[in-house]
């Protein structure tokens, strides 16, 4: 099978699905992802244009949106594809304007917010949310007689657990052979929220819900720097990025956002869009605010260890300080106050929000740590890839936590020929991942394997192979005028 980059891996797992609601939903989502705004450009980083982001429409075409995501798929291909689209839907309900002005981007502005894409969004947003988050109903469960005292006890337990626990991402940075690039990879994941900070929260400020509304507003005005742009959290996050010589525009690093961090960001929009979920939001945001302060203390320690005084950590110091107050305010004046005012009937939802935020936060860490470890050990994964193609059982130690051998199967791991992908220099650049481990082998020409936003790419020549563990995000950039690579399924060895 020969494909171009724009119909990468077009084996359609949904093709056997009977026509019906799910099929219609898929076509609408795919129609959105295929819009010219979302088909990518030749650069690895996105240009300063918040309306264009690569949605990899041909990778989206593989996704069966009729079957909801499973918890076990949190870092998988369906999760990444779905959350990229969902995040774009949500951000289309916020105001995004480029710092340099709209002069040359007016057409993109009109298309991004225009009626065609808006109608698609409105027609399938709820279904896409259901696809992305309905697993939470089974994965998290609150039972038994829940009171304010139970809520307080559980909250204290969850926060203490986070304070005492190790950050998987920070541990991966500390253990990386190139800790600077590893640290940048973590910053990239934070940039997803850091450059549009508190946008989801803003959706909970309207209405009338008493003193708890005013308490939440206090946090909101802190996030927005009390009306002083230079003090806005997005501004001080940009200082952190600039100190690392990184881009500060929305969303320069779109291609490098991972599935679980995107899910975490989308989760707060998900709860904030539908006010039937307000009490879940209150639980989730209270947990987040409570664990931010100790989390940023750990981040400061790690980043000082990597960069010394060469990095601007005002953003982390601000959070380490102000989130102590936010943690207290949300706990006492939002979480517990809502429970006392509205009774034990709302406590299960508050508890659910805490538990869901805890779960997604853990996945954020694990997904990011796995990407850091893999991108930091590509040489080892070249050996594993070559060994897998030779048919030797190999231990894929470290990053993916899996073992693999060449199967000669398709990229999906089932029987069949490997997928062949052809690229020409200057082709649209995008990144993707796979649900199963694959071996990427360059068949013709030369190409760069891109696994991080700031690290050097890995040059591949004909015959070179790299094991890509399940979930790991990569892109391929043609170096020669034309190149081709194959994706071989790599099955776990038990």
């Amino acid at each position: 099978m020969v494909t171009t980059s724009n119909d990468l891996l077009t084996h359609s797992v949904h093709s056997a699905q009977p026509a019906g609601k799910a099929e219609r939903d898929l076509s609408r989502v795919h129609s959105f992802a295929s819009d010219e705004l979302f088909t990518g450009g030749p650069h690895v980083l996105h240009e300063p244009n918040p309306y264009r982001r690569m949605l990899m429409p041909d990778a989206v075409a593989e996704v069966d949106f009729g079957a909801p995501l499973l918890a076990s798929e949190y870092a998988g291909h369906r999760a990444l594809a779905g959350h990229r689209i969902l995040g774009t839907f949500y951000e289309a309900e916020t105001v995004l304007l480029p710092e340099q002005g709209l002069a040359t981007l007016r057409g993109d502005f009109d298309a991004f917010y225009g009626p065609r894409l808006r109608r698609i969004r409105e027609s399938c947003l709820s279904d896409l949310e259901d696809f992305a988050f309905s697993f939470l109903a089974g994965e998290v469960e609150v039972t038994g007689g829940c009171t304010v005292d139970v809520l307080e006890a559980y909250f204290q337990h969850a926060v203490a657990e986070a304070e005492q626990g190790e950050s998987a991402s920070l541990a991966a940075i500390a253990g990386a052979s190139d800790p600077a690039v590893a640290a940048d990879t973590y910053l990239v994941q934070l940039a997803l929220d850091g450059l549009t900070e508190a946008s989801a929260m803003s959706r909970n400020l309207g209405g009338a819900y008493g003193p708890e509304q005013s308490a939440l507003f206090k946090i909101f005005i802190d996030e927005f720097g009390y009306g002083v742009f230079e003090a806005k959290h997005t501004s001080i996050f940009s200082k952190l990025l600039r100190s690392r010589a990184m881009q500060t525009h929305v969303h320069a690093y779109w291609n490098f956002y991972l599935a679980a961090p995107m899910a975490t960001n989308n989760y707060y929009y998900y709860l904030s869009r539908d006010h039937a979920k307000f009490f879940r939001y209150a639980g989730a945001v209270t947990y987040a605010e409570a664990v931010f302060a100790p989390g940023f203390v750990k981040m400061i320690e790690t980043y000082r260890g990597v960069f010394g005084d060469e990095v601007d950590l005002h953003y982390c110091e601000e959070h380490a300080h102000i989130d102590q107050h936010h943690g207290r305010i949300t706990r006492d004046q939002v979480l517990l106050a809502l429970a006392r005012r509205h009774g034990d009937g709302v406590v299960p939802e508050l508890l659910r929000g805490i538990a869901e935020a805890r779960l997604l936060g853990a996945w954020f860490e694990e997904d990011t740590a796995a990407q850091i470890r893999w991108a930091d050990s590509i040489d080892r994964h070249r050996e594993l890839g070559a060994a897998a193609l030779d048919g030797d059982a190999v231990a894929a130690g470290g990053t993916g936590g899996s073992t693999a051998r060449g199967t000669g199967g398709s990229a999906g791991g089932s029987a069949g020929r490997p997928q062949r992908v052809e690229l020409a220099a200057g082709h649209p650049f995008g990144t993707r991942n796979h649900d199963e481990p694959v071996v990427l082998q360059l068949a013709d020409g030369e190409a760069d394997l891109v696994t991080t936003a700031t690290g050097r790419p890995h040059r591949l020549v004909r015959g070179d192979a790299v094991l890509v563990p399940a979930g790991r995000v990569y892109g391929v950039l043609a170096v020669s005028p034309r190149c081709a690579y194959q994706l071989h399924g790599a099955a776990p060895v038990h």
């Binding site: 609150v142 006890a153 559980y154 659910r352």
Partner: protein
């Protein structure tokens, strides 16, 4: 004073808290940590069987039938995420030992085709613990 206990449901399905026992009762996709004590004479409900309609649990001691909704009302507060469960014991003194355990729970088996027959006097029906 509330006590918080963490339990791995892939390893444990019951808890001993002092002289009280609780077991994980599974029905309709929900897992709840309910009291393992029949309100009649304290029999181990975890060894009881569901009636054929699945709506009652028959205590193995005297055949007392307890509605599953009444059983669920004895549930301790529990927040489950996957197999990670956090249980909050309201008003459990710190010195009372709490031990997660695993044992066979017949109450979670599918209901038998026919109700078990019991000799002696009619079994009492209990709808409230």
């Amino acid at each position: 004073m509330s006590r918080v206990v963490v339990m791995d449901l892939s390893r444990h399905n019951a808890v001993l808290a002092g002289h009280e026992r609780y077991f994980v009762f599974e029905q309709g996709g929900r897992r709840e940590l309910v009291r393992d004590r029949c309100p009649h004479r304290g029999g181990p409900l975890s060894l009881g069987r569901l009636t054929p309609d699945g709506r009652r649990l028959t205590c193995p001691w005297h055949g007392t039938r307890l509605t599953t909704s009444a059983l669920r009302r004895t549930a301790l507060p529990m927040v489950r995420s996957g197999d990670h469960a956090v249980i909050v014991f309201p008003d459990l003194p710190a010195e009372v030992p709490v031990t997660p355990v695993r044992w066979r729970i017949l109450a979670n088996l599918p209901p038998p085709a026919e109700a078990p027959t019991a000799g002696g006097p009619p079994a009492p029906e209990v709808s409230e613990p």
